[in-house]
Amino acid sequence: MLTFIAHRLAGALLVIFGVVSIVFLLIHLIPGDPVEIMLGEAASVVDREALRVSLGLDQPLAHQFLAYLEGLLRLDLGSSFHSRRPVVGLLLERLPATLVLAGMTLVITLLMAVPLGIVAAMRRNSLWDSGAMSFSMLGVSVPNFWLGPLLILVFSLWLGWFPVSGREGFGAVVLPAITLGTGLAAVLSRMVRSSMLEVLGEDYMRTARAKGLAPSRVIIHHGLRNALLPVITLLGLQLGALLAGAVITETVFSWPGIGLLTIEAIQSRDYPVVQACVLLISVSYVLINLLTDIAYGWVDPRIRLGGGR
């Protein structure tokens, strides 16, 4: 088990190093001179050179990269061009909102996907099944920057149940979470259905029924527990996509999280903040995948002992 974890950890570190390199290089992709873009054309030569030196842009690329890495190790991501505050502080300020949104989304997603998938599998080829799978098809196809406004239109403007945007009160998280969770629930419900169908045919299910257990107990204790393993893996893989989707959803609802910060930073050309947001989201994604991998190897020895992939 330890070798397995060490193996995966080394792979993840390599990937994180690559991610850091790409994020570092992003700022050098900007067409033209970043300093000129930041200060505008009216700035004096002295100001420009001063900013260039303070950003370290006058140094050779390799030197800049090392300085960036060294800063990362000290959790120093530079400071925002606009507010002049350390970027790490900005991120920490916005992180709780995104975590609340992600957690609520996860709850709503599971509440939608698991019952839908189970019903579809139990009543295979019935109206229930085709209804659930149609929902899944629609959910995959509806973009969240359209679903969000539609939900606002119906539930905030017409019915007045939830606030239009912002983070006031408990109800405010509901619409963003539904918006963000629908696509994920669509994918998951399909997975629950196919995984459940596989389990339903197993011998131990027949045994459980034969010994006279209540149907609900058979489904939940014997069926669902076994069917959920692949579902959890998929959930881990999709959690990162959820973080990326949060960028758009948070913009729709003006939800003050990391995603909205990313867009605000892009619009105000606050490059250190853009870099830090992209880095934070991607590294969280890598770490979530790593944890899913390790958990899966822990649960299922076949994967652990298979070595590598």
């Binding site: 992003l26 992709l29 403007l157 990313t262």
Partner: protein, 270 residues
Amino acid sequence: MRVWIPSGILGAWALLALSVYVLPLSPNLIQLEHILMPPGEGALLGYDDLGRDIGERLLVGARTSFLVAFWVVGLSALVGTLVGTVSGYQGGWWDRAVVQVIDIFLAFPGILLAIALAGLLGPGIENVVMALAAVGWVGYARLSRAQVLSLKHREHVWAAEALGSSRLRIMTRHLLPLMAAPLIVEATFGVAAVVIAEAGLSFLGLGVQPPDASWGAMIRDGTRYMLVAPHLVLAPGIAIFVVVLSVNLLGDRLRDAMDKRLVTAMRKDQ
């Protein structure tokens, strides 16, 4: 039947996108007396916040999404397949390096990297294509590499190698034709992903520049007037939704059809 309806919708999408070059449209004409007018006579889909004809802007938006989808899927599939095939067939350190690069690109979830790239490159349709293709090639590379790895020890490839065929010939004549089916399925779903991604970038203000129209930008502009004029948001949203749904339905059918062919082929083998 279940293939014809989505195919028809996608055909209509392509036709409407190309019709923009022929029809006498004035999608940027501002008519202040028509501001936010609902669908009715004059304009089938009503007017937007500047009094522009939403129907005509929807057509221009169709062209935007069609062009972006065409170029992004084309470029990504070409580059990705090339990299994946060569890498899988060559093996060695080159292959290990490519796998590492693929893993790194896959570590950026969803369209996050495209958002960052498009944001840094600045708005414009070319930059959208570049940003999405820079992210999109990875999927095709991974898929074609996996395909090559499973195919390259087949007997017909050994036979070709024994006969002294060149590597290029083996890759193009003996490997690519067998890999085409899954790549086509991947590219079909790719169209849906790119249409959503383009509209998403435009929604964030990182896509096409005004006054050019994009379905995503139309949704963003419309959200400000949702209570008084919901048609501003509904029309482009339905357009995206219908196109993406059709692509996904078609992709599902295609995948099922290919799966069946695969199963029958395997049965014959036994």
